[in-house]
């Protein structure tokens, strides 16, 4: 038993290094995608203190809008622009209808409101686009679809899907872009000011409402990118909503307020989940992907309650 847990998985890893590499690559891609979802959460949490449960459904909704428009004969790139516009409209509506009246409410109320939004968007999305899964318009968007096999050692083989490479590249561009946006632009600085202190930001003339609409829009664009990448790997359907739950352990691992945390957390969870599932999963009957990430995050949190990069929580009476 102990041998099975502590020794055997490593023996397997050493025996088939090419398979291990393949697993690591899968973990890397999954991690990147988790990080993208977590990024959407972090953007909104940082700026408004709202734990946005609807991020998962925003991913689905954005992808569905894109695919749905294309099905109605809109060219792919125009559909992409229109989908971005729809996310902008959604961001504006959310800010105006949901967030503004709920300002200064306790965080649990805001969390509930976003779950209410999830219900609404699920109903609305299914009402407009129908409930059946659709396939992502990968080729029409000019994304690569093939795969490349690498020879490793004498008999090893590593297969990389091009779409996964594209996902990784796009995620990195996105994170870099957000980094520049936050650090170099006027709006980005205003965003960070709001994240630091709402009242101080207000007092120097930053419009909170405008900032919130912008972060929701940014989160919407991140959601669209995630939706395209994730949709290309499987179908676009409401089942994708559950990936939001995959991103939550990433969040607590990285800290709710940290963009680097979201990325590092995503990678840790991605690697951990795939390796755990492949090498340790069979010991308990498989399917442990659904909770392993949570257990990793939970154990980590016991030692560092604010996550890896979260702001230190100082409590006073």
């Amino acid at each position: 038993m102990l041998y099975d847990i502590f020794v055997d998985p490593f023996v397997q890893m050493a025996a088939q290094p090419d398979f291990l590499l393949q697993v690591l690559w899968e973990g890397f891609v999954a991690g990147i995608l988790y990080a993208l979802i977590a990024l959407g959460f972090v953007l909104i949490f940082k700026a408004s203190g709202v734990f946005n449960f609807a991020q998962g459904i925003m991913v689905v909704f954005a992808a569905l809008t894109l695919v749905g428009l294309h099905e109605h004969g809109v060219p792919a790139y125009l559909a992409l622009i229109l989908a971005i516009a729809v996310m902008g409209l959604l961001a504006y509506t959310v800010e105006r209808v949901v967030m503004r009246p709920l300002v200064n409410q306790p965080e649990i109320i805001l969390l509930m409101a976003t779950i209410g939004m999830t219900y609404f968007l699920v109903g609305f999305g299914e009402f407009v686009f129908g409930g059946e899964p659709k396939s992502m318009i990968t080729e029409e968007l000019g994304l690569p679809t093939g795969s490349t096999a690498f020879q490793i050692g004498e008999r090893g083989l590593l297969i990389l899907q091009h779409i996964d490479i594209a996902a990784a590249v796009i995620a990195i561009i996105m994170v870099a872009g957000l980094g520049i946006f936050f650090n170099k632009t006027r709006i980005g600085r205003a965003l960070r000011a709001v994240a630091d202190d709402h009242q101080a930001a207000l007092s120097v003339g930053i419009s909170l409402n405008q900032i919130w609409a912008i972060v929701w829009f940014a989160a919407g664009i991140v959601a669209l990118a995630t939706g395209i990448m994730w949709g290309a790997r499987s179908d676009v359907s409401f089942a994708l909503e559950i990936i939001a739950f995959k991103a939550l352990p990433v969040l607590i691992l990285g800290g709710f307020t940290s963009i680097p945390g979201a990325i590092v957390g995503g990678l840790v969870i991605g690697f951990g989940e795939k390796i755990g599932e492949i090498y340790w999963g069979p010991l308990v009957g498989g399917g442990i992907e659904s909770w392993l990430a949570y257990i990793i995050a939970l154990i980590f949190l016991l030692f560092r309650p604010q996550g890896m990069f979260g702001e230190r929580i100082i409590e006073r009476v």
């Binding site: 109320i109 779950i115 498989g286 309650p305 009476v317």
Partner: protein, 359 residues
């Protein structure tokens, strides 16, 4: 004028500390009890009992369970569905190990298993707070759901992977299984729910309940004046999971009759959380109102929308229901973040002076 406490003098401590110190409240509760115990059984159809009243009471108990944890002890939990599942599965195992045991005893005992699991998953709450804790309770949700699927012992190695409740009798009356009368099941659920509500209401008024509220309001301050967070938080987890477990067991035994692991998925947790929050955090009557609102609204929409002349497909009705429920939740959170219980409170204030503008 309708709801004046003027003139009702308390001459003993017992009278002052009664659960319903006001005469109007006592009359009101007597009327509700008469409705629940006499009028509903006499008039209700089987459809009304099985699709509205029984689930409403079961969800009310689950909402009270979550309210103990979130509303009174301030620990946000998203694992309610799984804890209900633990109750259901342990009740199922208990009935298959002790087939002759009294079903009520089994139900009440199954809650203890749920409570034990709840305490185990409540341990992180000593280190982790707020939303971080909410996410860690999801660990319980997904892990337990996985157990329900992957541990065949829990469902007696059924081919279907679901738990099915066979027919059982209590004092010669069929209480579970397809042959049981909805009325019998309604009575059992009603008695258990009311009994446990009474128990919890006393718990909350007592020493332990006040400790929960101190922890909720500010845990460090509570700790400084001598409340042990360990006992307070874990007892809240235990009581909460106990109630949710009993509710889950009743859900399978007296309402659904059979359940797959997906019956205890995260959506159930959200449903109960909505009931608790819309009803009002930290209010028992609010849990009932929230359960009624969240449970009855979709059922009513499903019945009302087609009858209004909207000739729509069943699927569309479902989508519209989801949209309307979502929108209403947001609407309620905006207009009254303290829930239906707060609205009831305001109504009572108004009733004190009605029909005059000032008291």
């Amino acid at each position: 004028m309708l709801y004046r406490e003027a003139g009702q003098f308390k001459t003993t401590y017992e009278a002052d500390q009664a659960i319903f110190p006001l005469r109007q409240d006592r009359i009101g509760i007597a009327v509700i009890a008469a409705l629940a115990f006499v009028v509903v059984p006499l008039t209700a159809t089987d459809f009304f009992l099985t699709s509205i009243m029984t689930p409403f009471l079961i969800f009310a108990l689950a909402a009270i369970g979550l309210n103990v944890l979130t509303g009174y002890a301030g620990q946000l939990s998203l694992g309610t569905g799984a804890f209900m599942g633990v109750g259901a599965y342990s009740a199922y195992k208990l009935t298959s190990i002790f087939p002759d045991a009294n079903i009520i005893v089994v139900l009440l005992a199954s809650g203890f298993f749920s409570a034990a699991i709840g305490v185990a998953f409540g341990l992180p709450s000593l280190r982790i707070k707020g939303l971080y804790l909410a996410v860690t309770t999801l660990a319980a949700q997904f892990f337990l759901e996985w157990c329900f699927i992957r541990i065949p012992w829990l469902y007696n190695y059924n081919a279907s992977g679901a738990i099915e409740i066979s027919q059982r009798e209590m004092a010669g009356i069929v209480v579970t299984g397809p042959a049981a009368a909805p009325l019998t099941q309604y009575f059992i659920v009603l008695c258990v729910t009311v009994g446990l509500t009474w128990f919890v209401s006393n718990l909350i008024r007592g020493r332990i309940g006040r400790q929960w509220m101190m922890i909720r309001d500010m845990d460090i301050a509570a700790e400084l004046i001598g409340v042990r967070p360990l006992t307070a938080k874990l007892s809240a987890f235990a009581v909460s999971s106990y109630l949710c477990g009993v509710a889950g067991a009743m859900m399978v035994f007296f309402w659904l009759g059979a359940a797959e692991p997906s019956a205890f998925a995260i959506s159930l947790s959200f449903q109960v959380l909505f009931m608790t929050i819309l009803g009002g955090l930290g209010s028992l009557i609010g849990s009932y109102m929230g359960a009624a609102f969240i449970w009855i609204l979709p059922v009513a929409l499903r019945v009302v929308l087609p009858s209004l002349g909207f000739d729509v497909a069943a699927e569309t009705v479902q989508h519209l229901t989801s949209m309307i429920v979502g929108a209403l939740i947001i609407f309620f959170l905006i207009t009254e973040p303290h829930g239906l219980a707060r609205l009831w409170q305001l109504t009572k204030e108004k009733l004190k002076v009605w029909p005059f503008p000032y008291g």
